[in-house]
């Protein structure tokens, strides 16, 4: 376990032969081994299930299970045998899937299970799972845990990376906690409680001043800047809320609960939606991103590398991209002006290195995100939509961004933040809207915003008497 950026995935990738260690030794069954390629890791019986899926969508399930280990009859593929074996493995895992199904047609969760099936097919003695449940539904998670129990009984060792506390306590025998790339401790699960683990994960630094700061400001909201009424679309069902000037509204929910879709709908990126969107009290029909930008609504997208930055362009060009047409209405760029703006952004956002000509693709994740946010702020938005703004970012940059969001809100901006990290929502959001399967489950405010409560509603719990007030 460990926070984002603690080094969990890196460590696992070294075990799986994706990265090479600079120093240190790995012992397998008491013997010193060198794992310098994925192939070598496979030979040693180490299989890894990656955070990002690595199944091939164009092949069928059997084809994926036996990828690069195809059964052969002479020089021909023995499809029959592969299918049969695939079927028995799927049955063993309790999956009702046809091995001839093309993986493209499976849900994300099913694909993840196929990946696990692949690890089993390879007779792995050690299976590394890197946050395997992040894309799974409750039902699929239970299936996975069942499979893990079975594997454990068979003598397979499993390294399970997660920052979901409940899962860890459900399946782990021992827990190793990492922080800032270092091992903090290894403990037996039955000897510790969640609180102790959290304090090991985050260290002893206090989050309290952040919290108290928020509370001071909690009542100073202005007029509603954005009102959403009965928004309904593909993954959204009758969602209504408003965000006031100076307010940070958190959108919580599991993957696929419609959080991102709501942001996209507000930005005009989804055309098949019904419902009203009011900006500054006036109703608008936002049909395209350009419409949204004109109204001062801007989105910081979730997928930073593909949707946020343009890696081959300089920091300067990325920073000015959105505002370019506004800064230079006659269409001709003045480098002095552009350079001046970029330098200002770099200084204000503390972008490292402070070289406006550096290609954004060569920056660290946190600095890339600062560039994306800087680009959005140069547009002078009134409403800022943040989709997982601190995902994969180191703790320092994260704290800087949180402080920035707070300052922006104090200056009168309305901010919506989607985050899967509950501590983030707890510490930064003034109000939190919890979504479940596209519907609003709860509206939490002030001191009611607790990880426990968010999780309860996000996993489908209903509002109870003592729960939160509705909108």
């Amino acid at each position: 376990m460990g926070e984002n950026g603690a080094g969990k995935t890196t460590l696992m990738k070294i075990l799986a032969g994706v990265y090479r260690p600079e120093k240190g030794t790995i012992y397998l069954n008491g013997q010193k081994v060198q794992i310098n390629s994925r192939k070598r890791a496979q030979e040693l019986g180490i299989a890894m299930i990656f955070q990002e899926l690595s199944v091939l969508p164009n092949l069928d399930i059997a084809g994926n299970l036996f990828l690069a280990r195809e059964k052969k009859k002479g020089i021909l593929l023995d499809n029959k045998q592969m299918e049969d074996e695939a079927r028995s493995i799927l049955e063993y895992l309790g999956l009702k899937l046809n091995p001839k199904t093309i993986v493209e047609n499976l849900s994300v969760g099913e694909r993840q299970l196929v990946e696990i099936a692949r690890a089993i097919t390879s007779n792995a003695k050690i299976i590394v799972m890197d946050e395997p449940t992040s894309a799974l539904t409750q039902d699929e998670q239970e299936k996975l845990f069942g499979v893990i129990d079975k594997l454990k009984k068979q003598g397979t060792a499993i390294i399970y990376v997660s920052h979901r506390m409940d899962e860890i306590f459900r399946i782990a025998d021992r827990i190793t906690i990492l922080r800032d790339g270092k091992k903090v401790n290894t403990v037996l699960t039955r000897d510790v409680n969640k609180k102790e683990i959290i304090s090991m994960m985050i260290g002893e630094k206090e989050v309290v001043d952040e919290l108290s700061k928020r509370k001071q400001h909690s009542k100073k909201f202005g007029e509603p800047l954005l009102e959403v009424e009965k928004l309904t679309g593909k993954k959204i069902n009758n969602v209504s809320f408003k965000v006031r000037s100076g307010e940070i509204l958190g959108l919580a929910g599991l993957l696929g609960s419609g959080r991102t879709e709501i942001l996209r709908a507000i930005c005009g990126l989804d055309n098949n939606i019904s419902g009203n969107i009011k900006v500054d009290g006036k109703k608008y029909n936002i049909k395209s991103l350009q419409d949204a930008l004109r109204l001062g609504i801007i989105l910081v997208p979730e997928d930073r590398r593909n949707e946020g930055i343009i890696p081959g362009m300089s920091v300067m060009a990325n920073l000015s991209l959105t505002a370019l047409a506004n800064i230079f209405p006659n269409g001709i760029i003045k480098f002095k002006t552009e350079h001046h703006i970029a330098s200002k952004n770099i200084q204000e956002l503390n972008i490292q290195p402070c070289d406006p000509y550096k290609l954004v693709g060569k920056l660290s994740g946190g600095n890339q995100q600062k560039v994306v946010i800087g680009r959005c702020l140069n547009h002078n938005p009134k409403i800022l939509l943040l989709d997982e703004p601190t995902q994969g970012i180191d703790i320092g940059a994260k704290a800087e961004l949180h402080a920035l969001f707070r300052t922006l809100a104090e200056k009168g901006m309305a901010i919506i933040i989607v985050s899967s990290e509950l501590p983030e929502l707890v510490s930064i959001a003034d109000n939190v809207l919890v979504l479940y399967e596209g519907q609003v489950r709860a509206f939490l405010s002030g001191a009611d915003i607790e990880e426990k409560k968010i999780l309860y509603y996000a996993t489908g719990g209903f509002e109870s008497e003592s729960g939160a007030r509705g909108l």
Partner: protein, 323 residues
Amino acid sequence: MSLVQEDYKTKIAKLTAQSQVIIFLGLIIAVAIFSYLSPYFFSVRNFMNIIRQMSMIAIVAFGMTFVIIAGEIDLSVGSIIGITGMVAAISMKNGLNPIIVIGGALVLGALIGLLNGLMVVKVKITAFLATLVTMSVLRGLSLASTPGSAPVTISSSLFVEITTANIGLIPIVLIYLITILSILHFVLNKTVFGRHIYATGGGANAAALAGVNIQFIKTMVFVISGLLASFSGLVLAGRLSAGVPDSGTGWELDAIAAAVLGGTKFSGGQGSVIGTLGGALIMGVVSNGLTLLGMTYAYQLIIKGLIIALAVILDIWVRRTEV
């Protein structure tokens, strides 16, 4: 460490990291080698000859550079050259004013580009296939436009004059080339439109979410490419004093080669028209030099291929060592 020194170092690194610099160094080396090997090579007359030959390819390649920077490809330029030559020759034969013909042919080129762009952006056909379609259809139309696919002579001296005149020693096409180059360089580097082209090719999703109208940008690069190809087609028709149905065949590949030689990143997002000019010049110099040395076309093709391979490898190497 002194700041100045570091600044100086990064400047050198940045300079050498630009493929443009390498291509012009290569050009100088090629000129030096051919000047040494052939007594006829190093003369103003021969240089003007090279310029006449390469200008047309360069102009097409500029358009191609725009398309490739935006992350697309245009295979139809060779056929646009063919069809504009034919349309110009046939309409002048039927008594149309050469000036109107020139204007009309340029509009035709732009419209074909628009068609390419709409196929890519609206119908969502991959640019490779969409422009393969126009390439094939237009070539067919050019060949069918005249009985027996025979060339159609152009008798208008005004038309020939506009496209091939010399001012002193300088061919008029060089003036066209420099003018077009300056405008395109300005557009790419100094305008919002140009920046949006780079952004579209550098990451279409991110560009779209940043507010760039990538559909408009993609359509426009095809329009520019079509327009420039038709311009080149007119100059070629003037030089030949005829509309030749199969003229421009294979030029799309030369144009792509010139752009890539000049450091345009094939996957989009990076490149410059100056670099492309260098690429076109190198190809012009090499083919002229080899001809003067008596090498046949077959061997020239082989050497051209090797040069492209060398350039691409160098480019990969430079990008890898880039700081």
